[in-house]
């Protein structure tokens, strides 16, 4: 029976192999484009095996490289890591297929470079998921930022460069100035870089400084897009849609909130937080981000910009869940990672499909085009239902647990925040299918939709429904994580 | 009384020379005068070392066969021998540079030189600017 360590290797190394092999195959595009989904399937297989192992309570551990005494690159799969790893690898399959359809539909230039860095980004995300200690986490967090830069600045025109510069300065700046010293503070305080199930800071940090250390951490994780450091996400929308689909709905932002949750649970520890109340300020900040970005999303006319702001608000759901420092809320937050990933990737796929098929990117132009692209808008409808949290979709589970957690932790005003934002979600997401199906068409456009785009959309859309019924293994994993 | 002040007297000269040398190096704009200042500065160090070596009543540190004569300490003298050679090397290098600068720039006044350098620097940046401007669409 293959040992656990090789599963970790399978999951992590398959995107790396795709990264190394793709440039060699730039001659024949078909083989090169096949690599992506193939790599995705292999790494998902590994991820599923790891998840089963973690479900049985085993903790796969693998030390790769010993840099110096006390510093090493080592992998250790936490329940949270297993979930994120599975989400990233499974959705990579669909995103790889989708990007082939999109890139060919749009005749984009230098696709080989695109696919190589695409695979590298997934590799970095998976390494973050399975990282064993804070330093490995930081190393691959940086590698993820640097491997996504060529994707964001793909078009190489003036706009892409400016967006790339903003993207890099915020993400690298925040992680170098805040996250690195925070990690080193933990290293100095606890004497080692490792994390443990219910927090390492218990005895080593006197409680008054806990909020300040948490603040350095929170503002260090630029990818979790809290208010002052969220500007990079809308700016990164200038990238081609497969990039914003996988990266800004799944890999990059999820790595951010994954790191946030990991810090909150495995470095600070839930009961240490609830005891010292160190994260109350984070609850206020997350709720504020949540509401403000939902309101901004309403005024955004461009589809991708609206989805970008909706992503920022959904990320704050997860940060809020973690900050509530209650077992139930953390479970809700982790489940929200899964459901939001599935839902949001569908919405981004649809936005890309509309752009490729009908060359439209403004919501106001969508009136009456429901009939010409029925499947696409139906998928959008189901996806947004899941994000809003309507029962037959997976999103309802995570929102339910989040609200339960809010009640359990005694912060009742958070319940109010959740309900207001659900209403806002409904408003700005439902506007698109409503315009498409009910309003009158002002001009008709010949729609040419490549099949390679519709397949992934349908799959991810069904995923949101299947997840509603198949939420049981994820829920078991989060309960292992919490108690 | 004089001998005690004598020791002090030497150091006054040393540090006076040193400050004159430094002033010339910093104050003067002419490159040649800087080299002269530098040499004065280094000579003052030689004097400093020799005054350290002087032992009262000691003769020059050259062996003479009258036994138990007191010699002043030979070590500073030897060190200064090397320091002199170093001083010569520095001055020679400095002067040859001044010559080359004079033949390239036509003057050894610091202001004219830095003026010409500034002109060259901006010219270099300008020529490349329109090169890259041509390629920006």
């Amino acid at each position: 029976m293959i040992s656990l360590e090789t599963y970790i290797l399978i999951t992590i190394l398959s995107p790396l192999i795709v990264f190394l092999v793709t440039p060699l195959l730039s001659r024949n595009p078909n083989l090169r484009d096949l690599l992506g989904p193939l790599g995705g399937v292999i790494s998902s297989y590994g991820a599923i095996e790891i998840m089963n192992a973690v479900l049985e309570g085993k903790i796969p551990k693998l030390d790769v490289l010993d840099i110096a005494d006390g510093i090493k690159i080592g992998f250790e799969v936490t329940p949270l890591g297993a979930i994120f790893g599975l989400v990233a690898s499974v959705l990579w399959i669909f995103a790889a297929i989708y990007s082939v359809g999109y890139m060919r539909g749009n005749q984009e230039k230098n696709q080989t470079r695109f696919y190589t860095f695409y695979a590298m980004a997934v590799h970095a995300a998976l390494c973050i998921a399975y990282s064993g200690d804070l330093l490995t986490l930081f190393i691959f967090y940086e590698v993820l930022t640097f491997s996504t830069y060529p994707l964001v600045a793909h078009k190489q025109n003036e706009l892409a460069q400016k967006a790339g510069r903003l993207y890099m300065s915020i993400l690298v700046g925040s992680s170098v100035i805040f996250l690195l010293p925070a990690i080193i503070c933990v290293w100095v305080l606890t004497g080692s870089l490792d994390m443990s199930k219910n927090g390492v800071l218990e005895g080593n940090l006197n409680p008054e400084y806990a909020p300040y250390l948490l603040a350095i951490f929170a503002f260090g994780i630029g990818k979790a897009a809290l208010i002052p450091i969220h500007k990079w996400l809308p700016a990164a929308m200038v990238a081609p849609t497969p990039v914003s689909a996988l990266l800004h709905a799944v890999a990059v932002v999820k790595a951010g909130v994954f790191t946030m949750l990991l810090i909150l649970t495995n470095v600070f520890g839930i009961d240490f937080l609830s005891k010292t109340g160190a994260s109350t300020w984070l609850i206020w900040l997350a709720s504020f981000t949540l509401l403000i970005t939902s309101i901004i999303a309403i005024y955004k006319d461009d589809i991708k910009a609206r989805l970008a702001y909706s992503t920022i608000s959904q990320l704050s759901y997860i940060t809020l869940g973690g900050a509530l420092a209650s077992a139930m809320a953390t479970q809700g937050a982790v489940l929200h990672i899964v459901t939001h990933a599935a839902g949001k990737i569908t919405l981004f796929f649809v936005a890309g499909a509309i752009y490729v098929g009908a060359k439209m990117s403004k919501i106001s132009e969508l009136n009456g085009h429901g009939k010409s692209m029925p499947l696409i808008f139906l998928a959008f409808f189901i996806g947004s239902l899941s994000i809003i949290g309507v029962p037959p979709m997976a999103g309802s589970w995570s929102k339910f647990f989040l609200m339960l957690g809010a009640a359990e932790s005694g912060h009742l005003f958070v319940l109010v925040v959740f309900s207001i934002s659900t209403i806002l979600n409904a408003y700005y997401l439902m506007e698109i299918p409503a315009r498409a199906f009910f309003l009158k068409k002002d001009r008709d456009i010949k729609v040419k939709m490549p099949t390679l785009i519709t397949i992934p959309i349908i799959c991810t859309c069904f995923l949101t429904i299947i997840l509603f019924f198949a939420m049981e293994p994820f829920q078991k994993l989060t309960s292992i994580m919490v108690n | 009384m004089i001998s005690s002040s004598l020791g002090v007297w030497n150091y006054w000269v040393v540090f006076l020379l040193m400050m004159i040398g430094l002033f010339l190096v910093i104050g003067r704009k002419n490159l040649l005068k800087k080299i002269v200042g530098l040499t004065i500065f280094q000579t003052s160090v030689f004097l400093l070392y020799i005054t350290f070596g002087k032992i009262q009543g000691g003769t020059a540190p050259i062996l003479n066969n009258i036994n138990n004569t007191i010699y002043s300490n030979p070590l500073p003298h030897v060190l200064i021998l090397t320091a002199i050679v170093v001083g010569v090397a520095t001055t020679a290098l400095g002067l040859s540079l001044v010559l080359r600068i004079n033949s390239e720039y036509g003057s050894i006044e610091e202001d004219d030189i830095s003026a010409q350098d500034l002109v060259d620097y901006h010219e270099l940046i300008e020529t490349n600017k329109n090169v890259s401007a041509k390629f920006k669409k």
Binding site: D66, A68, I139 | V45, F52, V98
Partner: protein
């Protein structure tokens, strides 16, 4: 034969390049002089590796010259502290000599090539001697040998661009003033203690408590060395000297010259004087610490606004020197070790960056400024990839050597509860990303002259590949560098704090 070599290793490392520099000057054929220089630097590197082994066999080797017993005669001291700069200098000089084969003839007319290589070996011998000697005045002699040879080398740049002469002139005058200040300091200390041997000096200084001449001597010595090490306010000579020197020379000087003087600064501060007496603590806290913080920010900001790339890299060197002096100024064992780690890593990083830029200007045969960088990335892929990796290493991005040194400096400053110092370090290193990114963006994204038919010459990019590989290797497996630095700081600070 081998035991003679082993016994005389400390001196062999110095006289091997020194003697060969005298021989090389007589060789008329340019290629032959390059071959001899290359083999000499290679042998010196092998000797330094053997020395590394010897030092870790018995903790410190003292080698008396000309059968005068140590306190009187000149004593060469090799211990775990001085082996670090020796390895740095010999390694970098070997790689740079490979690099100089194609680059040197392009900038210096063929009649004076063998003279340049003799000066080249002389400068290397001076630097290695500076680091091995245990005698204060002998240190001055080597200081002068290395700086005069470097001035002459920089002046060679005057053949291509006349500003090289003025840069050499400034370097000479400032270097001579610095060295003379150092001699005055040594003289004052000799006047009080009566000895020139550094180890003996530190014993005698410990006995004298706060004698005025001692403080004056210390002051002169430190200022003199700070001029040579280009610590912030005294660094005016460095940008122009590195910018207008011939390409290969600027690579050598950028990576090794200041490193030797920084090591001497550490040796004077910590081993000659005692870290626990108030004089040193005050100097560290109220002089060197603020100066290095100023250096970090001034260097980086100057680099951001600089147009000429070689000057930009020189300004960034000043900022990096600020990191090293800051690490020394914090004064704990961990921070001095972090200083040594960055001493090693910065030599690799800055050497690689200068190599990349100078090979680019060699290919397009023009002086590189931010404007004519545009589009070159696609024309010369190997050089560009190496340049990107090494600038990531400068910014301290993980998996590179720069990250390791940044990690340890911040850890040292935080554990010396200087969280503000850590924040300042990170802010300035984040600022350094600005000018690095400006260059990378210009190289890759901007449109430039197409199909320049640049054929990347193997002799030029092989050393670049070697040094980039070292940058990554010491990022992945830094245990060698980290352990020897901690051993060095252990020995340097000894039983003290």
């Amino acid at each position: 034969m081998t035991d003679i070599i082993i016994k005389n290793l400390p001196i062999l490392v110095v006289i091997c390049p020194l003697m060969m520099s005298l021989i090389v000057v007589l060789i008329p054929y340019n290629f032959l002089s390059w071959v001899i220089t290359l083999s000499t630097t290679f042998i010196t590197f092998i000797f330094s590796l053997l020395l590394y082994q010897e030092v870790y066999l018995h903790t410190s080797i003292s080698y008396a010259l000309g059968n005068w017993a140590p306190p009187l005669g000149i004593e060469y001291v090799i211990d775990k502290v001085s082996i670090v700069p020796i390895i740095i200098i010999s390694l970098i000089s070997f790689i740079t000599t490979i690099f100089s084969s194609k680059i040197m003839p392009a900038e210096i007319n063929s009649s004076s090539i063998s003279k340049v290589y003799s000066l080249w070996l002389l400068a290397i011998a001076g630097l290695i001697g500076l680091v091995t000697t245990g005698d204060a005045f002998n240190l001055f002699v080597f200081l002068e040998i290395s700086s005069l040879a470097s001035v002459a080398l920089v002046a060679m740049g005057g053949q291509k661009d006349k500003q090289g002469l003025v840069a050499a002139y400034n370097y000479l005058v400032l270097g001579a003033v610095g060295a003379t200040l150092y001699v005055i300091g040594v003289g004052l200390l000799y006047g009080i203690t009566g000895t020139l041997n550094l180890a003996d000096l530190s014993k005698r200084i410990a006995e004298i408590n706060d004698n005025k001449a001692l403080i004056a001597g210390f002051g002169f010595m430190i200022i003199g060395i700070m001029v040579k090490a280009a610590v912030f306010p005294l660094h005016i000579w460095l940008p122009r000297a590195y910018a207008y020197a011939p390409s290969a020379v600027s690579v050598l000087l950028a990576a090794t010259a200041t490193k030797a003087s920084l090591y001497i600064l550490a040796r004077i501060l910590f081993s000659v004087f005692d870290i626990s007496d108030t004089l040193i603590i005050n100097t560290l806290q109220y002089v060197i610490l603020p100066l290095s913080i100023l250096a970090m920010f001034a260097g980086t900001i100057m680099a951001i606004f600089e147009k000429d790339i070689k000057r930009l890299l020189a300004h960034s060197s000043i900022a990096q020197i600020g990191y090293i002096t800051l690490a020394f100024a914090i004064g704990t064992k961990a921070s001095v070790a972090a200083g040594f780690i960055h001493l090693f890593n910065h030599a690799l990083i800055k050497g690689a960056l200068f190599m990349a830029i100078t090979s680019m200007s060699f290919y397009i045969n023009k002086r590189i400024t931010i404007n004519n960088l545009s589009g070159l990335g696609r024309e010369m892929p190997i050089t560009f990839v190496c340049f990107v990796i090494c600038s990531l290493s400068l910014a301290g991005i993980p998996l590179t050597a720069g990250f390791i040194s940044k990690l340890y400096i911040i850890k040292a400053s935080i554990s010396a509860d200087g969280i503000w110092i850590a924040m300042l370090i990170l802010a300035s290193s984040a600022l350094s990303v600005v000018y690095l990114w400006k260059m990378i963006e210009a190289l890759w994204f901007h449109e430039g002259p197409k199909n320049l038919l640049i054929k990347e010459n193997s002799l030029v990019y092989i050393p670049l590949l070697i040094i980039t590989f070292l940058n990554i290797y010491f990022g992945l497996d830094a245990s060698l560098v980290v352990n020897s630095s901690f051993e060095a700081s252990e020995q340097l600070l000894g039983a003290r704090k």
